[in-house]
């Protein structure tokens, strides 16, 4: 395969929230930027949200990638222009001030904390028109709010990266403010070049500099084209799994890929006597925040196929239940994982291998969260809670909730996550840091990392706002050192 040469001043690898932000700000400052994305360049309406078609088009591996450990945790990565921002719930939760202050101290991050990050968060909120609902809470969100009130717990509506037109009375009239709707068009308007369907395999190094990236481009008809991209500076923004995989394949090992942590999540369908599942309200936005950052209780999108996945029993039973699917919602428990795993590139393949040893404490917190969620929902009229354990009976009496607390068999729970962190952590701690306080790779002259892999721990909240603010901060520092063009 003959190799094609491309040149740029700044190569940005990956177009998720970190990469798209980086490419946009650099291009707007006048730099010659090439943004490379492994996935396809698809519009937001290329598929119905959360549909099988969307999973096939925009999720890596069709949404089925496990991390290994005593209990496997399935993780989800976006693989398309815009990355995870095209497929996530678009919930915008600012970082908790105490989390930022802890990171500053524990991970020795310079010029960090709530005040330092505030202006960058404001920019994120403005650029992505972060909005609360312009209409009342949907029925599933109301159940969370009323349930939390009944238990004396704090809950709040989480804003979304969403644009609502004036006089908006339905979710369907708004639009997701993903990267393809915001930062990518801005980047392109500023002269950034975008190359999709192009996978960077490795960086070519010369001493302490990266000098090129080897990549493969796939055409719509499957034809492959080898590329060598020459650059002056490179920002690797492939996310906590792909970024360390690329770097390790390039020979940059050491601490790269260690420190993987995540927000493990368990879901369970719950049935009520009244309708609680109304898709016209979009993703439920109310969360119980009483136990944050360690534990969050909330509600997911739940189309009929999603609900079926989590219901036990035979098709006939399910048909009876599913005749009333609008009376069911899919609630979740999310915890801030305390363990650390790792990511490796598999030799001879393009694939990443993730190991995350979810431990007894994390499992105990998940289980406790399920119990609290169950108690809360019974307090507001839940009739049946479907256990997240494969094959277990559903719970129809609050007094039976204790079965959740007695410990669930580890291997029989379906734990998943979309929030991954810390495989190339930032900071000044030589035992842990892969990049400095502003994303520059240690011991390398021209490699920066600017995605969630540099966040040194789980945020305890939906992480997109945090990672975009940190990415903006790091680009601002980079530009201050080099100026605009």
């Amino acid at each position: 395969m003959k190799r094609q040469r491309l040149d740029c001043d700044v190569l940005v690898v990956g177009s998720g929230p970190g990469g798209a932000t980086t490419a946009c700000l650099l291009a707007e400052a006048g730099h010659d930027v090439l943004l490379v994305e492994e996935g396809r360049n698809l519009s937001l309406d290329s598929a119905v949200p959360y549909s099988l078609d969307e999973i096939d088009q925009k999720y890596r591996n069709g949404g089925l990638t496990p991390s290994f450990g005593k209990t496997n945790v399935t993780y989800i990565e976006g693989r398309c222009v815009g990355g995870g921002s095209e497929i996530n719930a678009a919930l915008c939760h600012p970082p908790m001030p105490e989390t930022l202050e802890q990171w500053k101290v524990i991970y020795q991050i310079d010029e960090f904390g709530e005040k330092a990050l505030a202006p960058y968060l404001e920019d994120v909120f403005r650029d992505l028109t972060v909005s609360f609902l312009p209409y009342e809470l949907g029925p599933a969100s109301r159940k969370i709010k009323e349930g939390a009130d009944a238990m004396g717990w704090k809950s709040e509506e989480v804003a979304r990266f969403w644009h609502y037109p004036e006089k908006c009375d339905s979710h369907e009239k708004g639009s997701r403010q993903s990267m393809t709707a915001t930062m990518v068009p801005r980047a392109l308007a500023a002269g950034c070049r975008l190359r999709s369907r192009t996978r960077v395999r490795r960086l070519g190094l010369k001493g302490h500099r990266a000098v090129f990236a080897d990549a493969v481009s796939r055409g719509p008809d499957g034809t492959r084209q080898a590329l060598r991209i020459h650059f002056e500076q490179v920002f690797v923004c492939g996310g906590p799994i792909q970024t360390p995989t690329i770097l390790r394949r390039s020979g940059l090992k050491g601490k790269v890929g260690k420190g993987l942590t995540m927000h493990p999540m368990l879901r369970m369908p719950v049935r009520f006597d009244e309708e609680v599942n109304d898709p016209s309200y979009g993703v439920p936005v109310q969360q119980v925040v009483e136990f944050k950052p360690q534990l969050t209780l909330g509600c997911s999108n739940a189309s009929l196929p999603h609900l079926v996945m989590w219901l036990g029993g035979q098709v006939q039973d399910r048909e009876r239940k599913l005749a009333e699917w609008r009376k069911m919602a899919l609630f979740y428990v999310l915890v801030m994982g305390t363990r650390r795993g790792f990511v490796r590139s598999l030799p001879g393949t393009e694939e990443a291998f993730a190991y995350y040893p979810i431990n007894d404490e994390d499992l105990a917190l998940l289980v406790e969260g399920l119990y609290r969620l169950g108690k809360m929902l019974f307090a507001v009229g839940a009739k049946e809670i479907f256990s997240p354990v494969a094959g277990a009976a559903s719970i129809t009496d609050e007094r039976d909730l204790g079965i959740l607390r007695t410990g669930l068999p580890q291997g029989k729970m379906s734990i998943s996550t979309i929030h991954l962190f810390a495989t190339c952590p930032m900071g000044g701690d030589p035992r842990r840091a892969v990049v400095d306080s502003f994303g520059k790779m240690l011991d390398m002259d021209n490699i920066w990392i600017n995605d969630a892999s540099i966040l040194p721990a789980g945020t305890g909240v939906n992480p997109q706002a945090t990672l975009m603010a940190v990415a903006r901060r790091n680009v601002a520092r980079w530009l201050a050192a080099r100026g605009s063009r």
Binding site: N61, L64, P305, V315, Q316, T349
Partner: protein, 113 residues
Amino acid sequence: MVAEAQGADDVMDPEALDRTRATMHRRLQMMPRFLGIPMIGATLVFDWGGVLASGLPFHRQSAAQRRKQLETWRKSSIGFLVNFVDFYEKMAKFTYFYELHERKEQRDEEVSG
């Protein structure tokens, strides 16, 4: 096969079942190789493991026999066997009901369009 095992033959929509089979085959091919190859191997073991219990491979068993084999693996103390069945069941259920329910709604919208 798993989808069929979940219900009596007469309650399954044949068109949706066909599309489910095709989709599941495609999803297996989308898996990373380090996972997909062992999964295909495990699937073959599952299929021919049915011979030990019922004298027939899974794909030739009746719906009742298939449900029994699924139940045996589901209740196993070996985590991998439980995960295997759980994986296929979830994928089959999601795909079948998506094909049955969501695609039908999309087609109805197109017709009324």
